[in-house]
Symmetry: C2
DNA sequence: TTAATCAGTACTAGTTTGGTGCTATATAAA
DNA sequence: TTTATATAGCACCAAACTAGTACTGATTAA
């Protein structure tokens, strides 16, 4: 239903927890406790994120996981793609030219591709750093929004200044 | 994988076909033939869309389905929600206050809500009329995009600034 | 050596998805 | 009235996916 999987949800939560942790590296067990998530899934998820290169893992005693890059340099889109593969809202919408036999007759494909691109760039415009910060602009999100919410999020990213609703 | 179901895909294709048809009303069988989609699923999908109030159905001989409103007045979001329920990118992100027990400790929920709102408003800003038109701006989509694709889509809706960071 | 910790794989129950089939009901036309 | 056409509403099924579990093996600090 146009939904990320629960594992991806876990992934974002875990990465956010790492982003705001004081320690450089955290073990799976500790992360699970801190995020109140089931240990086995946390382990599984962290493995996948490490394999995708978003986390650096250290084995052995006092081992654990650390962010591979600065939180501001990791986007939500990267985490999603690491855990679910390329973002493609329809079977036929993807970066590569689709092999769909209906493509010639299909009048909606190019539109879906554009929508897909919007979603991907939206997720790509939100950093882990933003995701890990408690919403200082919650008040702004609650109040009637007159500008499109996207401008806030995209504006924030491009000039590294907080979204216009605060301060 | 952040994907609409195939039935929703069918739904959009069928609604688009209705939007650009000369006839006011088309039968399920004819629509299936015209869209080159499997007949049984087309029937199932149209029934659901009729029940959601997006289509008007006429039984009996010479019966069929017709759009309940003008194509410009029906949004992609409505079709998606008719076939998959409310758009909620995570289990906890929805319009109503979620009953999630973690909500108090959850630092990402409000961010997901904002992302969800962006996606919903994106899908809500695209009408069936636009979806049914062959992409006159395909050339623009192929060429290196300097402005964010959103501006093109939302352009008629609000004035959106280009995003300088992407590509 | 030992305990902690990640890597990798395989497995399973439950849900969702995509699709099929059948019967009942409505309607235009012969 | 009869008949052909079409939708309405179920119930059902197989395949795929999701969420979660289990276990073995490799690595490393102490
Ligand atoms: S159905 Fe595959 S491109 Fe439209
Ligand atoms: S996990 Fe439910 S609100 Fe965050």
């Amino acid at each position: 239903m146009l939904r990320i999987t629960r594992e991806t949800d876990y992934g974002i939560i875990l990465m956010s927890a790492l982003a705001q942790a004081d320690e450089a590296s955290l073990s799976a067990a500790l992360l699970a406790r801190r995020c109140r998530l089931p240990v086995p899934m946390v382990g599984k998820t962290l493995k996948a994120l490490a394999q995708a290169g978003l986390l650096i893992s250290q084995r052995g005693a006092h081992g654990g996981y650390a962010l591979a890059r600065h939180p501001a340099e990791i986007t939500v889109a990267e985490v999603v793609e690491a855990l679910e593969g390329p973002i493609a809202i329809t079977e036929c919408s993807s970066a590569e030219p689709s092999g769909c036999v209906f493509l010639e007759h299909c009048q909606v494909n190019s539109h879906w591709n554009r929508i897909n691109e919007i979603i991907r760039s939206t997720l790509g415009a939100i950093s882990l750093k933003q995701m890990s910060q408690w919403p200082s602009s919650l008040r702004g999100a609650d109040s009637p929004v007159t500008i499109n919410p996207l401008s806030a999020l995209l504006g924030e990213h491009s000039s590294v200044q907080p979204d216009p609703t605060r301060r």
